[in-house]
């Protein structure tokens, strides 16, 4: 009885593991565009946080402006590369990471 139970159990699991059918996820590498989009979202979030804190009166203007300028410069570089890639999808080199 126990032996039969063990065999059925093992057979069930083996069928599940080795008969995956035809639908399964393909392992793909992340594209440069997807990577840049992630970066853009992070920098945008930083910018929004900074703007919000400034509006909340946390930082004086003389602190806020250089911080915003440097974050915007960072965002601009990313946006420019996204644009460049959208126009010429292969215009980048792997070493740029």
């Amino acid at each position: 009885m126990i032996l039969a139970l063990c065999l059925i159990f093992a057979a069930g699991l083996l069928v599940y593991v080795f008969a995956p059918g035809v639908v399964f996820e393909r392992v793909t590498d992340k594209s440069r565009l997807a990577f840049l989009e992630e970066r853009k979202q992070v920098v945008y979030e930083n910018l929004r946080d900074l703007n919000f804190d400034y509006k909340a009166g946390k930082y004086p203007q003389e602190d806020y402006e250089p911080l915003r300028a440097s974050l915007e410069a960072e965002a601009a570089e990313i946006l420019a590369e996204i644009d460049a890639l959208n126009v010429h999808p292969t215009a980048w080199s792997p070493s740029s990471l």
Binding site: V17, P20, D29, E38, R39, V42, Y44, A56, K58, L67
Partner: protein
């Protein structure tokens, strides 16, 4: 059923070995450009099947417990026929073998969720799944060859089992170990993702985003586990306290401290692309400290009230730790270029440096704890004799470190990323500093004498710093709320709710900080504890602080299961009756174990904690020990705040579209990456 359990464990080992080997091979093939998606899928499914097999084994053990199958040695030693059903479930984690099986079950459950949600990032999840399978193999090897839960009793099967330790027959004790284990085991997931990201040179920091909720859930479980243990010690052990700096208690705090550091410093990587090496090592260390904690509990290397029976499985853990360290070092050295920082630190006065310093303090606390816990072993090795490193050491070393940490909790959120000017500092710190100083003055007016007593000094400092942190948190909420209020016309309270919903992580984090503040206030109350012990015959009274305790009666019960001595006490405060309390002491005959039934009257201001210490045979009167423990209930309340904050931080933030008044932003179109080339992946 035991045979089925044993078979399920062997099957689980085979499946996790397949998951690891096939998964590794598929990833290797993919790295050199050979498609092996089908093989990778079978590896993933083997990981899922491992969970089914381990769950079946755990079910078999619980089934044996529920059916009083004393032919299984583990069931014989940890249950008996009269044990209530919930405690029969708890038997799964009451002993060495069962708790290892439970550990394996939790690990495979985490793995199950990870493998089912693999679409979030198929490649990274495949790496994490393979690494988790390797960890799983270790635990399944232990269960199959070193600590087998289904060993059979030799000779005749006894009619009844030995029962569960009465101290463990307490509802919190049913939840405490699973919570701790969920915390310990859970760190394997961020560890697997971090190691996977390092091995594959994962481009970007999204792996942190993926693991953030895992880490927070794990951290929350560990926190709950630690405080449930403290509450159990307080309510059941009856020595008047909740934390004894026992090596096993300390062991649960090691990964908590490094995990807390990771939760903070990982923000620097996510937002600024900094501290990548640091973060990777923090999570490696957190996982290894979880394993070290388990090793300390189970090896008998350090003496502890919690320790399981000394066994050879300690060596297995040492090997596992060693192999883990070697693997981590190998991949770090090979791929360390991938961990270069993307930004430099621009100012010492910045959020970044406050995180860095906060990390340092947390690690110092972890080191002090680890050092104190292992020093007796070191001392024996160097001096030839063991010494004790007990509460006086830990209190003296860790309390100053904790003060620093509290200060940084208040300071950090007020500093800007990149750099903060002195003008900004002045603007943000004036109110919190005034709050701290005012609190200190108020406390001294009410009788705290920091110049007379170190305990008073630390207590005053802690509560003043708590005021600073609270002022910081309140100012963050109020300032943010005002901005929302200006835009939406909502009242301030509603605005603060909207604010929290818009940035759940940040404001949930502040709520967690507030929970810590509440807990620290509770801990600071210990400086003002009072206690008194007195023999108390019928009608006799004892006084402590504002309380008067009058003995109404006392008696003894002798049942088949235990002997019990108890007293009926009338309690008064400032002459006003508060009701009756019933401290008792049981002595279980079968297990020859004592059990204290503590009488606690808890209020937000203080706990009246009464223990039946014994009976004077000459006078036949009970000896009663009374404690006044101020602010203890704040500790338990703080834990609820902390859990609430963690849950808030885990909720996805309200979509930008839900607050159109604030978003003048046009929808950002997501470029279709179809024709773009891949990045990273081991290049």
């Amino acid at each position: 059923m035991p045979a089925f359990g044993s078979f399920a464990l062997i099957l689980a080992l085979a499946l996790s070995a397949y998951c690891f080997l096939a998964g590794s091979f598929a990833l290797r093939q993919q790295a050199v450009g050979i498609p092996s998606d089908r093989l990778a899928e079978t590896a993933r499914r083997a990981g899922i099947a491992t969970w089914i097999a381990v769950a079946a084994a755990a079910f078999a053990l619980v089934w044996a417990a529920l059916n009083n199958d004393f032919s299984v040695a583990y069931i014989l030693h940890h249950t008996n026929r009269d044990l209530p059903t919930p405690y029969k479930f708890a038997a799964l984690w009451s002993g060495q073998e069962g708790s290892l099986l439970f550990w394996a079950l939790l690990l495979s459950s985490y793995g199950l969720v990870l493998r089912l949600r693999h679409k979030v990032d198929v490649k990274l999840t495949a790496y994490a799944s393979t690494i988790l399978a390797a960890v799983q193999i270790f635990f399944l090897l232990l269960l199959n060859f070193a600590a087998t839960p289904f060993s059979m009793v030799r000779g005749a099967v006894p009619p009844d089992g030995n029962g569960l330790n009465p101290l463990l027959q307490y509802p919190e004790m049913v939840i405490h170990p699973p919570m701790l284990y969920l915390g310990y085991v859970g760190f394997a997931v961020p560890f697997a993702f971090a190691l996977g990201a390092l091995i594959m040179k994962y481009p970007g920091e999204k792996w942190i985003h993926i693991t953030r909720r895992w880490t927070m859930v794990t951290w929350c479980f560990l926190t709950c586990g630690i405080f449930l243990g403290a509450h159990w010690a307080y309510s059941v052990l009856g020595w008047g306290g909740y934390w004894g700096w026992d090596p096993v208690e300390n062991a649960s705090v090691f990964p908590w401290l490094t995990g807390t550091a990771f939760l903070h410093s990982v923000m620097m990587q996510e937002k600024r692309g900094m501290l990548k090496t640091w973060n990777v090592w923090l999570i490696f260390c957190t996982f290894m400290l979880s394993i070290l904690g388990t090793f300390l509990t189970r090896s008998g290397v350090v003496s502890s009230v919690h320790a399981f029976a000394q066994s050879s499985i300690g060596e297995w853990f040492i090997w596992f730790l060693g192999i883990t360290l070697v693997v981590c070092c190998f991949f770090y050295i090979r791929n360390r270029d991938h961990l270069k920082s993307e930004h430099r630190l621009e100012s010492l006065l910045s959020r970044e440096s406050s995180f860095l310093f906060q990390n340092l303090v947390l690690l110092a606390a972890c080191f002090a704890l680890l050092w104190g816990t292992l020093f007796p072993v070191l001392s024996e090795w160097v001096q030839g004799h063991k010494i004790t490193v007990g509460p006086p050491f830990f209190n003296r070393v860790n309390i100053p470190i904790a003060m620093f940490l509290l200060l940084l909790t208040g300071v950090g959120p007020l500093l800007a990323w990149r750099s903060t000017s002195w003008a900004s500092l002045k603007r943000n710190f004036t109110i919190p500093v005034i709050a701290a100083v005012a609190t200190a003055i108020l406390l001294m007016v009410f009788g705290v004498r920091p110049w007379e007593d170190a305990a008073h000094f630390y207590s005053l400092m802690a509560i003043s710093l708590c005021a600073l942190v609270t002022a910081t948190i309140v100012s963050e909420f109020v300032r943010g709320g005002r901005v929302i209020s200006r835009h939406t016309g909502q009242n301030l309270l509603a605005s603060m709710v909207t604010l929290t919903r818009r940035n759940t992580r940040r404001y949930g984090g502040y709520i967690v900080h507030f929970g810590i503040v509440v807990i620290v206030v509770g801990l600071a109350g210990a400086a003002f504890n009072q206690q008194k012990e007195q023999e108390l015959g019928s009608g006799e009274r004892m006084e402590l602080g504002a309380y008067t305790v009058v003995c109404d009666s006392y008696s003894q019960d002798d049942t088949a299961n235990y002997e019990m001595n108890y007293a009926v006490l009338n309690v008064f405060k400032n002459g006003n009756p508060l009701g009756q309390m019933f401290p008792a002491r049981k002595f279980f005959k079968a297990s020859q174990q004592p059990d204290t039934i503590v009488a606690i009257r808890s209020t937000p201001l203080e706990d009246l904690y009464i223990i039946y210490a014994g009976l004077n045979q000459d006078s036949n009167k009970p000896i009663i020990k009374v404690f006044i423990n101020p602010l203890v209930s704040w500790i338990w309340a703080g834990v609820f705040v902390l859990i609430f904050g963690t849950v808030v931080a885990m909720i996805p933030p309200m979509a930008a579209a839900a607050v159109p008044q604030l978003q003048t932003v046009r929808a950002v179109s997501m470029p279709v990456p179809v024709r773009s080339d891949p990045v990273g992946a081991g290049d």
